[in-house]
C-alpha cells in the first residue's frame, strides 16, 4: 500500500478511489474499500444505536405502571363510566368504550382458549385500541396488508 504517496500528496485513499483518473494497485483498492466498509458499517451501527437509545428513552418517558390485563380492563371500564358527557360528544368514540370493555373480555377468552394459555398472560388492550379507531374498510386493509407488503 503506497502510504507514502498518499501522505505526500495529502490525498486519502478514499479520494483516490473516488477519482476515476487514478489507477490503483490491487492492494490499494483492497485497503480503500476496507476503509469504506469500516466507515459504512460504523455509520450504520451508529445510526441504529442512536435509534436503540431513542426507543428506550421514549419507552421510559411514556411508560405507565404495569398492570395485569384484567386490572386494565376494569380500570378502563371505570374510566369510561366516569368520562364526562362532553368528551363523548367530541370524539364520538367514548360512548362505545363500555361495550369495548366487554369485547376485551370476550376476545381475551377466545384467544386464550385457542392458544391454551391462561388469560392473564395476554394483554389485549392494544388490540382493542386499534380496532376502535379504524373504520371497517381500514380493518380489512390491515388484514390483507401483510400479504400485500412482500409484493412491493
Amino acid at each position: 500500500m503506497d502510504i507514502n504517496k498518499a501522505l505526500l500528496t495529502g490525498e486519502s485513499l478514499l479520494d483516490r478511489l473516488r477519482d476515476p483518473s487514478v489507477d490503483m494497485s490491487f492492494g490499494d483498492k483492497l485497503a480503500a474499500s476496507l476503509q469504506v466498509t469500516v466507515l459504512g458499517v460504523f455509520i450504520v451501527l451508529i445510526a441504529l444505536v442512536l435509534l436503540y437509545f431513542a426507543i428506550n428513552l421514549m419507552e421510559k418517558l411514556l411508560r405507565e405502571p404495569k398492570k395485569s390485563a384484567t386490572n386494565i380492563a376494569e380500570d378502563k371500564a371505570a374510566k369510561a363510566a366516569a368520562t364526562e358527557p362532553q368528551e363523548e360528544e367530541e370524539n364520538l368514540q367514548g360512548a362505545d368504550e363500555q361495550n369495548q370493555q366487554e369485547l376485551i373480555a370476550v376476545i381475551t377468552a377466545a384467544i386464550a382458549a385457542s392458544m391454551e394459555t391462561s388469560t392473564h398472560n395476554i394483554i389485549v388492550r392494544n388490540i382493542v385500541r386499534n380496532t376502535d379507531t379504524t373504520p371497517a374498510w381500514g380493518k380489512a386493509g390491515r388484514v390483507e396488508q401483510i400479504n400485500q407488503m412482500h409484493r412491493m
Binding site: V36, T37, L51, I55, E59
Partner: protein
C-alpha cells in the same frame, strides 16, 4: 410502388432485429414466466420484464430521449450585442421522446423510489421493533453484506459508484437499490434492479440453507418471550424520531427515510386515514407501474448483455448470503450475551425483504419446534433492516454521489 414497400420493410423491426435483441426478448419472457408462473415478486417483475421486452423491440423508440433545439430569435446587434443584452431563444421540440423515457424521468430525478417508500411506510407496523429495540442490531448486522460485496466489486474492477450500487442489492430492498443505482450508476440500473427483485423473490430458497448451516437444533428451538404491547403514542412518536435522527446523521438518506416515516406517521396517527389509504394503494400502484416498466426499459441489449451483468448477478447473491449469515452470527452472539433468550434465526430477517424474510424465519423455526412462533420476533429485525439499508444507501450516496 415497389420502392415504397421495400422502404417499409426496411423500417420494420423484423429487418433490424439482431441476435442480441432476440436474447433480451427471451430473457424478458423468462422473467415473465418466473413472475407469473412461479409467483416471484410479480408486482414488480411483470412490469420490469414487460419494459425490458418493449425496449428491446428494435426501432420502438420507447426509451429515446426528447430532443430539443434552441433557436436564437433576435440576433440583431451582432455577437457582442447579443451577449450583452441577452437573446430570445425559442425552444423547438424536434422529437417528443419515448413514452418509457418520460416515465423514467421519475427514477432519474429520484422521485419514484421515495414514493414507493411512502406506501411501504403506510403498510408497515414498526411495533415489533419498538417492543424489542435490540432488533436494531440485527438490522445493522445484516447490512454487512452490502459492504462486503462493495469490496468484491471494487476488486473486480467496478468503479466505486458501480460497486456501491451493486452492494445495495444485498440490502434486499428494491426501491433503495433502484434509487442508488439511478443516481450513481444509471448504466447498470437494469441488471441491478432485476438482480435485486429476483433475489428478494428467492429469499425462501437462498436463506434456509445458510440459516441451517450456522445454527444448531437447540438454537433453532429457542422460544422467545412475548413482546410487550406498544402504545399508540409510541407508534406515533417513533416515525418522527427516526426521521430526525437518521436524517441528521446521514442527510443523503433523507428522501428515503423521510418518506418511509411520513407514510408510517400517516398510518399510525389515524386522523389521516384517507391519505394513508391512498399512499398504500393507488399511489404506490401507479408509481409501481411507471417505475417498473421504465426500470425494465433501461435494460437494453447493448448494456445488459455484458460480462458485467453476470458479475452483478453473482455479486448480488453473495451480498445476500453474507447479509443473511452476518445477521445470524450476530444474533448468536447476542443470545449468549443477553439475559433474555434470542433465537438466532431471527438474525436472518435483518436483510429486509419485508415480510418474506420474517416468514422464512417462522417456517424454519417451526420445522424444528412446531409450537414456536417467531414471526413477530422476526418482524423487528426485518423492519429495522429496511432502515439499515436506507442508511447504507445514504453512506454510498454520501461517499460517491454528486
Amino acid at each position: 410502388m415497389v420502392d415504397v414497400f421495400i422502404d417499409f420493410l426496411g423500417s420494420t423491426g423484423f429487418m433490424n432485429l439482431t441476435i442480441q435483441h432476440v436474447i433480451m426478448l427471451v430473457i424478458a419472457c423468462f422473467l415473465l414466466f418466473l413472475a407469473i408462473g412461479k409467483g416471484f415478486e410479480p408486482l414488480l417483475l411483470v412490469p420490469i420484464a414487460f419494459g425490458m421486452l418493449l425496449t428491446n423491440l428494435p426501432l420502438s423508440g420507447v426509451m429515446q430521449p426528447m430532443t430539443v433545439m434552441f433557436e436564437i430569435l433576435t440576433p440583431g446587434g451582432g455577437a457582442e450585442g447579443v451577449i450583452e443584452t441577452g437573446m430570445e431563444i425559442e425552444r423547438v421540440v424536434q422529437n417528443p421522446g419515448g413514452l418509457l423515457r418520460h416515465f423514467y424521468t421519475g427514477n432519474q430525478l429520484g422521485i419514484f423510489p421515495p414514493l414507493i417508500f411512502l406506501g411501504v411506510g403506510a403498510m408497515t407496523d414498526f411495533g415489533p421493533l419498538i417492543a424489542n429495540p435490540k432488533s436494531v442490531f440485527l438490522g445493522a448486522a445484516a447490512q454487512f453484506g452490502i459492504f462486503f460485496t462493495f469490496i468484491g466489486a471494487i476488486l473486480m474492477g467496478f468503479t466505486p459508484q458501480a460497486a456501491g450500487s451493486i452492494g445495495i442489492i444485498g440490502g434486499a430492498d428494491g426501491p433503495t437499490a433502484i434509487l442508488v443505482a439511478s443516481q450513481l450508476a444509471p448504466h447498470l440500473l437494469g441488471p441491478i434492479a432485476v438482480a435485486a427483485y429476483s433475489y428478494m423473490a428467492l429469499v425462501p430458497i437462498i436463506q434456509p440453507p445458510i440459516m441451517m448451516a450456522l445454527t444448531n437444533s437447540e438454537e433453532r428451538k429457542i422460544k422467545m418471550e412475548q413482546l410487550r404491547p406498544v402504545s399508540k403514542k409510541e407508534k406515533i412518536i417513533f416515525p418522527i424520531l427516526v426521521a430526525i435522527i437518521v436524517s441528521l446523521l446521514l442527510p443523503p438518506a433523507t428522501p428515503l427515510i423521510g418518506l418511509l416515516m411520513f407514510g408510517n406517521l400517516l398510518k399510525e396517527c389515524t386522523v389521516t386515514d384517507r391519505l394513508s389509504q391512498t399512499a398504500q394503494n393507488e399511489l404506490i400502484n401507479i408509481v409501481t407501474i411507471l417505475l417498473g416498466i421504465s426500470v425494465g426499459a433501461s435494460a437494453n441489449a447493448e448494456q445488459f448483455l455484458e460480462f458485467e451483468t453476470i458479475q452483478i448477478i453473482v455479486l448480488g447473491v453473495v451480498a445476500f448470503g453474507v447479509g443473511t449469515a452476518s445477521g445470524v452470527i450476530i444474533a448468536k452472539l447476542m443470545n449468549k450475551i443477553s439475559k433474555k433468550a434470542i433465537n438466532p434465526l431471527i438474525g436472518a430477517a435483518g436483510v429486509s425483504a419485508v415480510p418474506m424474510a420474517a416468514r422464512v424465519v417462522q417456517t424454519v423455526g417451526q420445522k424444528e419446534n412446531p409450537s414456536n412462533f417467531l414471526l413477530m420476533h422476526a418482524m423487528g429485525p426485518n423492519v429495522s433492516g429496511v432502515i439499515g439499508s436506507a442508511v447504507a444507501a445514504g453512506v454510498m450516496l454520501s461517499l460517491f454521489g454528486g
